[in-house]
């Protein structure tokens, strides 16, 4: 399974649309060049100080910080849910600052897979239907949606629960459905906001193992958390405190699978 995903990742490598130069593999997934966000006052609040950050394809990065540190702002900026007031943010080499609103939305929908603390599953729809929702706005033919959803559910190990309603699923299973939904959109970046925040330790472990596995198979994963234990799983941890990003380079785990 892992090999097939890798092959798919290789196949989807495309020339950088901006320059036509290097392939997508060499273009960082996320590139913050002095990106900062200040909410206009009065008084103006600097939610995110200008920062530099580069996340390469296939990296597993955790962003750690206590509550109120600016994690949400960071998530919103990275997830194209909020526009930075300073600097340049390149996602997959695309300058997001130059985009019109509709294009930003499309970019968000196609390149970023979100996983939220609150799962955000639609309660009256089955797991498969929830996963299929990711294809509604990206013009995926109807016939293909189910196949993609089943594929994604298979990757998170829930193929047999495809027709279960979210209420029938455990917390961990729900979060895995949410991950499947993010994966079904075939994103460049899996952006997880406190993915284990609502889970007990066993379920949290299962979800983190899943994310780990996805990372191993080549997915770029960013996890925003306040939990140091979660952060310990990543090969790179970025700390955020009072809106200031600070990167401690820890001895990275050797990526033996690569």
């Amino acid at each position: 399974m892992i090999r097939s995903v890798r092959e798919r990742a290789r196949r989807t490598r495309r020339p950088d649309p901006a320059t036509g130069g290097p392939t997508a593999a060499e273009v960082p997934v996320v590139e913050f060049r002095g990106v900062g966000l200040t909410y206009p006052g009065p008084p103006p609040v600097q939610a995110l100080s200008p920062c530099e950050l580069t996340i390469r394809r296939g990296e597993f990065v955790t962003v750690v910080g206590p509550s109120g540190s600016g994690k949400s702002t960071f998530l919103n900026v990275m997830g194209l849910l909020d526009t930075p007031t300073e600097g340049t943010y390149l996602l997959d080499g695309v300058d997001t600052g130059a985009l019109r609103d509709g294009d930003r939305t499309a970019l968000r929908g196609r390149r970023i897979g979100f996983v939220f603390q609150a799962f955000h599953l639609i309660p009256h729809r089955s797991a498969a239907e929830n996963v299929m929702l990711s294809a509604v706005y990206t013009a995926v033919p109807r016939a293909e949606r189910r196949a993609r959803a089943m594929d994604a559910l298979d990757r998170v190990g829930l193929a047999d629960r495809a027709d279960a309603l979210p209420a029938r699923l455990s917390g961990g299973e729900r979060q895995r459905v949410a991950v499947a939904r993010a994966l079904a959109g075939r994103p460049s970046l899996l952006l997880c906001d406190e993915p284990t925040g609502n889970l007990d330790s066993d379920n949290a472990d299962a979800v983190l193992t899943l994310l780990d596995g996805l990372h191993t198979s080549g997915m770029t994963v960013v996890v925003i958390t306040h939990d140091r234990d979660v952060a310990a799983r990543a090969d790179r941890t970025v700390t955020i405190r009072d809106g200031v990003l600070d990167e401690h380079l820890r001895p990275a785990r050797e990526r033996t699978t690569r």
């Binding site: 849910l81 509709g102 499309a106 970019l107 609150a118 929702l133 509604v136 959109g185």
Partner: protein
């Protein structure tokens, strides 16, 4: 350029202007834009509506009632109008009644109709038959008998109608036996009578071969004919009809206001004759007479679609407004309840307009379904009432077709504000719910 119409080709003074405006280069989309295909809009809307089926059903109820009332009122109106149309046949269209209102105008006035009323009205163009008739006021206890003494002497209390021959003809009688009395009998005040079939049966008169007579009080009348049907003035069937002159000779002129004139006209002449009759009859005092023309079919229908229906249509409109408010409220609650879902959809690539379209579609579907059910209910009501009253149900197809459209429009209108509200939801904010 238009081709010149003149024969000689004119020199072309104006050269075609060069196209200065080039198509504006569109900035290419760096990303393939988000889409929300119509099929998806519909399926999402239906799924959203079925999320809480009970609530949706209750919400749609207002529209169902409004549209149902609309269809039922228009349908019942059309059905009732068609009934009136059926009743408004050729016979009523060619009938004018002239009433004697002389006493209302002047308490010292004599009878409204002149003695030569039949002749006067006969001179008007378009009159086929006309004459004065009234119910004779007999002395109390006066009965009609078949014989002065003996077995047939038990009298029957039967009305006696005095009618000129023209009036009798204008009633379009069908004779079972004998004939009607004529102008001669009338002008010479002959004691002849025409009996209604039921009266003849009650008096034991079965044949005119025996030259039977009837006695009104003690006055003998030869039975000239037996009438078994009339198309106007059904009271003739229940009466003994005698010439007007005979009645006046025996019992005096009619009481004031008792006499009326029945005028049968040619098709289309009735309203004109009604206008002319009072003057023709009483040039000196046309106000002593009142002519009643046949009802105008147009005013008839206008009368039907009158006050009551306007009231019901107003009620239907009120129901629709209530339905719209219900839908607006439910949709707004749904928008607030589903803030998280809105955030999620935005995260999945939905543009704000896609969110608006989704909620608009949901309220539209809700209204449209309400309209459909309402139309069906309205049709059922019309058919039910028609069946019950043995009428023919009449429904204009446009009414039925418009009903779901009205529901849809109500739903869309009601969903406008919630949809805008949903579209304005900030995704980052919404995702925190």
């Amino acid at each position: 350029m238009k081709p010149a119409r003149t024969r000689l080709p004119r020199p072309r003074t104006r050269l075609p202007r060069p196209r200065t405006r080039l198509p504006r280069p569109r900035t290419p989309h760096l990303v393939e834009p988000s889409r929300f295909a119509p099929g998806d809009v519909l399926s999402e809307a239906v799924a959203g509506m079925l999320r809480r089926p009970g609530r949706s059903a209750l919400t749609a109820l207002g529209t169902v009632l409004g549209v149902g009332a609309f269809v039922a009122v228009l349908g019942l109106t059309a059905t009732a109008s068609s009934r009136i149309d059926a009743r408004f046949d050729l016979l009523t269209a060619t009938e004018v009644t002239v009433e004697d209102i002389a006493r209302e105008r002047d308490e010292f006035a004599g009878p409204g109709f002149p003695a030569d009323a039949d002749a006067r009205i006969g001179r008007l163009g378009g009159v086929t038959d006309a004459g004065v008739l009234w119910t004779v006021r007999l002395a109390p206890g006066t009965t009609v008998r078949a014989a002065p003494v003996g077995d047939g002497a038990d009298g029957e209390p039967v009305d006696v109608v005095a009618a000129s021959p023209g009036a009798l003809r204008a009633a379009v009688p069908r004779l079972a036996q004998g004939r009607l009395y004529d102008e001669f009998a009338s002008s010479t005040a002959q004691p002849v009578a025409v009996l209604g079939a039921s009266v003849a049966a009650r008096l034991g008169i079965t044949t005119l071969e025996t030259r039977p007579a009837v006695f009104i009080g003690d006055e003998p009348f030869v039975v000239a004919g037996i009438v078994d049907d009339v198309r106007r003035r059904a009271d003739v069937l229940m009466s003994v009809t005698v010439p007007r002159t005979t009645a006046e000779r025996l019992w005096g002129p009619p009481e004031s206001g008792a006499a009326t004139m029945l005028v049968a006209t040619e098709t289309g002449a009735a309203r004109q004759i009604a206008a002319e009759a009072p003057v023709a009859l009483r040039p000196d005092h046309p106000e002593y007479l009142r002519a009643v023309p046949p009802p105008d079919p147009r005013t008839l229908r206008a009368g039907v679609t009158g006050d009551l229906d306007r009231l019901f249509l107003l009620l239907a409109a009120v129901c629709l407004v209530i339905g719209a408010v219900g839908i607006a409220h439910t949709t707004l609650v749904a928008v607030l309840e589903r803030t998280g879902e809105i955030g999620l959809r935005r995260a999945l690539g939905a543009r704000s307009r896609h969110i608006a379209v989704q909620f608009l579609a949901e309220s539209g579907v809700l209204g449209g379904v309400g309209g459909l059910v309402g139309a069906a209910t309205g049709v059922c009501a019309v058919v039910g009432v028609a069946l019950f009253r043995h009428w023919t149900p009449v429904l204009h197809p446009a009414t039925v077709a418009a009903a779901p459209a009205i529901g849809l429009a109500t739903g869309l209108l009601a969903g406008l504000y919630p949809a805008v509200r949903a579209a304005r939801t900030e995704p980052a904010e919404a995702l925190r719910h």
